[in-house]
Symmetry: C2
Subunit: 406 residues, 2 copies
């Protein structure tokens, strides 16, 4: 189940960024479950990671390797998260980094490992090591579609987005792929996003860029409120486009690049929501009129996480009472209910804290029967706003998550 | 669907507390949907109410009437919450208070109104007023079972509990009824609880008592994390038992009474969980070893509200990785994952932050297949603990909440 269509785009190569996939037998179905990014010498790589205290072994290792060495490889597996696997989980991931790096005569710190899948089981390291030579042999600049498939778990569709721009007359490409369908409340959350560009960008500027764009995209989606142990959003810049390197966040080039990367990441993030486990609706929650950003987010998350609202969305039921109840318990200090206004798309349902005089059940029904619904909430107490994207809660969500391991 | 059995108990009369029910046609099915408590002159009445900013008209009125006058009547309806109904909602509720009080030659402030049901629709005041004379005529001391039925909405079973105790040689009775099955995360939430005793208790002591026992019972349950607009827990003390009035919270009588009332309220609260919408499991979440109570509650609520954990519970799947992920994102500052320990009933599943060596999938499966599951979490960083009760998330939950208004 998924909302709407998003055919996989034609993705051009990103000069300096090669990738390949292989099936190592981690997943039962014999699908490709390992992905390797090989990036040209001189590339910069930066990322943001899950804030979960039980972050997986590969997340810890990524953080360390990014500190100590220039990254040349991103080694990703699906089917097993290598999370809550203790010291052995760490040893397993490091061993794979070392085996891969050795093939290229480099140090293990040049490899960044990523895992997504079931928590608490050990990686099948032997199988994965045996698959490495074939994985390396397959690396090419034209494998973006295969890459997007190899990182899927409960996703029903591969997710990719691309755009091109010019930096001072030089053509630059930005490609991105992502995966994620459940345990999605990134901050960062098993959301994985890999974005690559051939632009030349200074390492510290790249780190700022990835943090800023994740804040606008992957950190503004939630499916079930469960922040995973493995989330990561990575940004690779090969520098092969030949542009004047971007060395300052104050530059025009930075703003242009940020806008392009943010566009790719927002597309990828919204694809994750549209492919959310059991999703039948794509829901934008837009909270305005807050006294500060924090209270806008509190209200948006309360609405996005309410099982009662999510089931009403699934039923196409304009049960707006559940929306105002969630606004009411979101924890906004001193909220004046009589100033609250709620619209579904362009239909005003709540005004002055109660049902709008103009509202009819038919109008609400019509909006709710669509696949794309915007919930606009005005708190009437300030000028701050926040926007989140989420899904409904369907029988299918329960089925997927009740059956996941069986 | 509901977990286990809880036959309605034989409830003795509470001297000085009469009650009656009638079907006013608020609900479609022709069931009794109005309940009246008439309490003897000289009784004390106290309550705790929802913290929802969109609290319903009757909640606001209750708070005002409790301030201004001695309460003689509790007038409750099911089928309509009279919430988010603006000024008219308030006028409607006050009119009913006035009509009732007039029949007894008293002021409207002696009436406390309560409503539960659909949000955002106006009360059918005419029908309700027409039903008042019959309601009054039916009032008796022996209608506890009918009363528990009249306040049900999506509940599948009436909920009652009773106990007796002695205060300084004087026999005292405590009776309670409650309702609630969804939108349950009381603080207070459409949870309603009415507890009556014939003990004599000073008004201010009664207020402390109801706050304390709600904190131990109704405020420690959550079904879907949705705090309702109408929650209330009321405590009535008629004083007819003839005991020396309880005038201090430091007295032995207070402690004895608190223990009895808490016992009744905990039974009622646990019945609400066991009758939770679509519930197939009764789950206790016991967090220990916290540095403070707040962080224990954060962890307990993160686990209780995780849709991934709730669906795994429904599937009897010991997917403990989802439990540690929730502990990890609960927001406990500086949590050391390697000190965390998790047990399901008596089976240790997580030790030192990863799967216990002794753990086998068969053990986990066995525990999870039961109807009653205790999740014991030790954070390993202090001496505080907290306990919550919750349910799983089933197809039936989705069905009930997707169909509620259709």
């Amino acid at each position: 189940m998924a909302v709407g269509e998003f055919p996989f785009p034609d993705m051009p190569p990103v000069n300096g960024v090669s990738l390949g996939t292989v099936g190592a037998g981690i997943k039962k179905q014999g699908r490709d479950d390992m992905l390797l990014f090989a990036v040209a010498e001189g590339s910069t790589v930066a990322g943001v990671f899950t804030q979960n205290a039980f972050c997986a072994a590969p997340v810890t290792i990524c953080r360390e390797h990014l500190q100590t060495s220039s990254s040349r490889f991103l080694l990703i597996n699906s089917g097993n998260a290598n999370a809550c696997t203790g010291e052995r989980g760490r040893t397993d991931a490091l061993q794979l980094c070392e085996s891969l790096a050795k093939q290229y005569g480099l140090a293990k710190e040049t490899v960044l490992p990523f895992s997504t899948g079931v928590i608490g089981e050990h990686l099948p390291v032997d199988k994965m090591q045996q698959a490495l030579p074939e994985l390396i042999a397959r690396v090419t600049e034209d494998a973006w579609a295969a890459a997007a498939k190899a990182i899927m778990t409960t996703d029903t569709r591969p997710k990719g987005a691309t755009c091109t721009l010019e930096l001072n007359g030089v053509a630059v490409t930005v490609n991105g792929i992502s995966k994620g369908a459940g345990m999605i409340n990134p901050n960062m959350a098993t959301m994985l996003g890999f974005v690559a560009t051939d632009a030349a960008i200074d390492q510290s500027v790249l780190q700022t860029l990835v943090r800023e764009v994740a804040g606008l995209s992957f950190n503004r989606i939630t499916i079930d409120g469960d922040t995973s142990t493995n989330d990561a959003c990575m940004l690779i810049a090969s520098g092969k486009a030949g542009n004047e390197p971007v060395v300052s966040t104050a530059s025009v080039d930075y703003q242009k690049l940020k806008s392009a990367v943010a566009d790719v990441c927002m597309q990828l993030a919204q694809m994750i929501v549209a492919d959310g486990e059991g999703a039948t609706k794509f829901v934008a929650i837009d909270v305005q009129g807050g006294a500060n950003h924090e209270e806008c987010l509190k209200v948006a998350y309360a609405v996005a996480h309410s099982p009662l609202i999510k089931t009403a969305l699934f039923a196409s039921d304009p049960n707006w009472g559940r929306i105002v109840a969630a606004i009411g318990y979101a924890g906004v200090e001193g909220l004046d209910a009589s100033k609250v206004r709620v619209r579904l798309n362009d239909v005003v349902i709540v005004e002055n804290g109660c049902r709008a005089d103009s509202y009819t059940e038919e109008q609400g029904q019509k909006v709710m029967s669509g696949e794309r619904i915007s919930v606009h909430i005005d708190l009437g107490r300030g000028n701050c706003s926040e926007l989140l994207w989420t899904t409904d809660l369907s029988y299918e969500y329960v089925r997927i998550n009740a059956d996941y391991r069986t």
